[in-house]
């Protein structure tokens, strides 16, 4: 079960971060942020269930998290969203060697979704194609 608590910790932070940055977005970007936050909540809930089933402690969310930079407008909001996906994806990637079976599938799906969203945010910032070699 090593790794899944870390993934849950990452999802908590991602959910918080989207809550902050969403206030600075409009239109399609806001829709994308809402969908992303919902996806992270879904992964969080799955992790709660998996950790409980394994009788493992589940890290709780903190009331607030320090942000790497001030989010003051759409550009900084998109930059934070990109960083959230990169960092959360990196945590899931680190989880992959520690798990097998359905939990590796969970980790791979989560890594892939983070990579897809990171690329979309980069494209939204004008960087096409927005992909990286090893997300």
């Amino acid at each position: 079960m090593t790794g899944l608590p870390d993934a849950l910790t990452g999802e908590h932070a991602a959910i918080y971060g989207y809550g902050v940055l969403g206030a600075h977005l409009r239109g399609p970007a806001l829709d994308a942020a809402r969908q992303a936050q919902a996806a992270h909540r879904s992964r969080r809930d799955t992790l709660f269930v998996d950790l409980a089933a394994a009788d493992e402690p589940a890290p709780e969310a903190a009331p607030a998290y320090d942000l790497p930079f001030s989010v003051t407008n759409q550009d900084t909001a998109v930059a934070l969203a990109t960083q959230i996906e990169e960092r959360t994806g990196a945590v899931w990637r680190t989880t992959l060697p520690d798990v097998t079976g359905s939990q590796r599938r969970l980790a791979l799906d989560a890594l892939t979704d983070c990579a897809l969203r990171a690329a979309r945010w980069r494209r939204m910032a004008g960087k096409a194609p927005g992909t990286v070699a090893l997300p």
């Binding site: 608590p5 870390d6 910790t9 990452g10 908590h12 932070a13 918080y16 971060g17 402690p57 890290p59 709780e60 903190a62 607030a64 998290y65 320090d66 942000l67 790497p68 934070l80 960083q83 959230i84 990169e86 960092r87 994806g89 990196a90 945590v91 990637r93 680190t94 992959l96 060697p97 520690d98 590796r104 599938r105 980790a107 791979l108 890594l111 892939t112 983070c114 990579a115 897809l116 690329a119 979309r120 194609p129 927005g130 992909t131 990286v132 070699a133 090893l134 997300p135």
Partner: protein
């Protein structure tokens, strides 16, 4: 637990912040796996099929770009990432000697994949090849030894991102 000795807030803040992650986490939570394990040189090389498939995919891209120059701007960035996968696979497998000799440009003309004459169909063929390669990477990641799971997962995720770009 990785957050022993740290407040969760501090650790999570560091995660979002990106800076000093190693120092904050202390135990490689934010690293990319046990790279030290990747330096061993298992025989036979379990990454050989992925390497061969990646080279074949590179062959599809290079043949398509050669036959359909109007697609070059779209395909070249993705091709570069596939080449980076070859480098990463070779490094993981233990060095330059362990993979088949590469050389996307060395694919002899006439024996490479055929490219549709219509650019739209040519792009669709690249999409199909990428989809197949992505499915293979997913399967390989799920079945992989721990030491290769992160790299294969990244390659699978990369190919998924390519599919979105290819439309």
């Amino acid at each position: 637990m990785v957050y022993n000795g740290h407040s969760r807030r501090t650790l999570l803040g560091a995660m979002i912040g990106g800076a000093a992650l190693t120092g904050a986490a202390g135990c490689g939570v934010f690293g990319d796996g046990d790279r030290s394990e990747l330096t061993s040189s298992p025989k036979p090389d379990p990454l050989a099929p992925m390497m061969a498939g990646t080279l074949a995919l590179i062959g599809v891209y290079t043949a398509t770009i050669a036959a359909q120059p109007t697609l070059a701007n779209r395909l070249n960035p993705l091709l570069a990432e596939h080449r980076a996968h070859v480098d990463a696979l070779r490094a993981a497998a233990g060095g330059p000697s362990s993979g088949p000799s590469t050389g996307p440009s060395s694919v002899p003309s006439g024996t490479g994949p055929s490219v549709p004459a219509n650019p739209t169909e040519a792009l669709a063929a690249v999409h199909t090849a990428e989809q197949s390669a992505r499915d293979t990477a997913v399967r390989d990641c799920l079945a992989a030894q721990p030491r290769y799971a992160a790299l294969l997962g990244s390659i699978a995720a990369s190919r998924a991102c390519h599919l979105e770009v290819l439309g």
